[in-house]
Amino acid sequence: MADWVNRIFGKEQSSAAQAKERLQLVLISDRTDLSPARIEILKDELITVISHHIEIDPQAIRIEIAHDGNKQRLLADIPLKSKRKIPKQVIA
């Protein structure tokens, strides 16, 4: 009953939606043979390598495996820290 009440008021995802979300993640690790823990390690290593060459903000990095049909791709969004500070009056 509590389940049902929570769900009606949108407090909890339906169990089918939870199943789908869990499957999305588990299928990615099954297909790539990369566990979520290994993806974290990969991310740390990427940060180290890239930081040797350019200045980046480790907090802003997003790395994920997206799947599009039965193809997987590794997506990395790495914002760079700009060296050149643009003077305020130029923007105005």
């Binding site: 009606i8 339906s14 089918a16 939606a17 789908k20 499957l23 099954d30 297909r31 049909g69 039965n70």
Partner: protein, 267 residues
């Protein structure tokens, strides 16, 4: 006649492969085709009982492979339909008694005399599965709408592709419309998005399947049955007909409507 070889597989056990094989075989045969069903689950044979032919087995597939009988002698004709045959699995042997090339050889021998050869694959991804898909022209993957079945199917679909037997088609078996509507069962759209595979049939959960299996009668032989109708539709799609997928709805009660109204993205 050149038969099309169709292998019915799943990865996970107990999702309804044997029921699907028996019913598709019976449906194709009742449409006038000449059909042979092969039980490739050596050591755990079941297609014979589901078809109600268990009392008529003399020889099995391993007898034919090892030369104790001719292939024709291992074939049992189903008397309810004009042209439906079964080649039973051996019960006292294991998967290693048959090799993928044995299966290819048997199917090649049968191709000229049949329209369809249906192979009921064992669960798992080992030898038995390899045997079952070796001669396949098409592969059907059966799943139930639940996490373990979908996950195993994803593995199997990958293996089918790496054996160059793809693209496989999907049968979603035992859907419970009322659970789907309540948001407690994965729906067809979710599953197709996860598995990225073509759909060939949706079969509702139906107690008549249990009852007809108790009696050894394929459920497709019952005109009024919903699951039977779903299997007959799959058989028609295999034959190239465009049949719309069954609408699986439940009476729209007040609670259903209410909970859908409030649930974010519930539909």
């Amino acid at each position: 006649m050149t038969a099309t070889v169709i292998t019915i597989t799943s990865g996970k056990g107990g999702v309804g492969k044997t029921t699907a094989t028996a019913n598709l075989g019976a449906a194709l045969a009742s449409d006038g085709a000449k059909v042979v069903c092969i039980d490739a689950d050596i050591g755990l044979r079941n297609l014979d009982v589901v078809l109600g032919l268990e009392n008529r087995i003399v020889y099995d597939i391993v007898d034919a492979i090892e030369g104790r009988c001719r292939l024709r002698q291992a074939m049992i004709r189903d008397k309810r339909l004009p042209e439906l045959y079964l080649i039973p699995a051996a019960q006292t042997r294991d998967k290693t008694a048959v090799s993928p090339s044995d299966m290819v050889r048997i199917c090649d021998e049968l191709r000229a005399d049949f329209d369809w050869i249906l192979i009921d694959s064992p669960a798992g991804i080992e030898r038995g599965f390899q045997n079952a898909i070796a001669p396949a022209d098409r592969v059907l993957v059966v799943i139930n709408p639940e996490v373990s079945s979908v996950r195993d199917a994803d593995r199997i679909i990958g293996l089918i592709e790496s054996e160059e037997k793809g693209p496989a088609s999907l049968i979603i078996n035992r859907i419970k419309p009322e659970l789907v509507q309540r948001g407690d069962m994965l729906d067809t759209k979710d599953i197709l998005e996860l598995l990225a595979i073509e759909l060939i049939g949706i079969v509702p959960e139906d107690e008549h399947v249990i009852i007809s299996t108790n009696k050894g009668n394929p459920v497709v032989l019952d005109d009024k049955d919903r699951a039977g109708k779903a299997f007959r539709n799959i058989a028609k799609r295999l034959q190239g007909e465009k049949i719309p997928f069954m609408e699986l709805t439940v009476p729209d009660g007040f609670i259903n409507r209410l909970s859908r109204m409030f649930r974010p993205g519930g539909e």
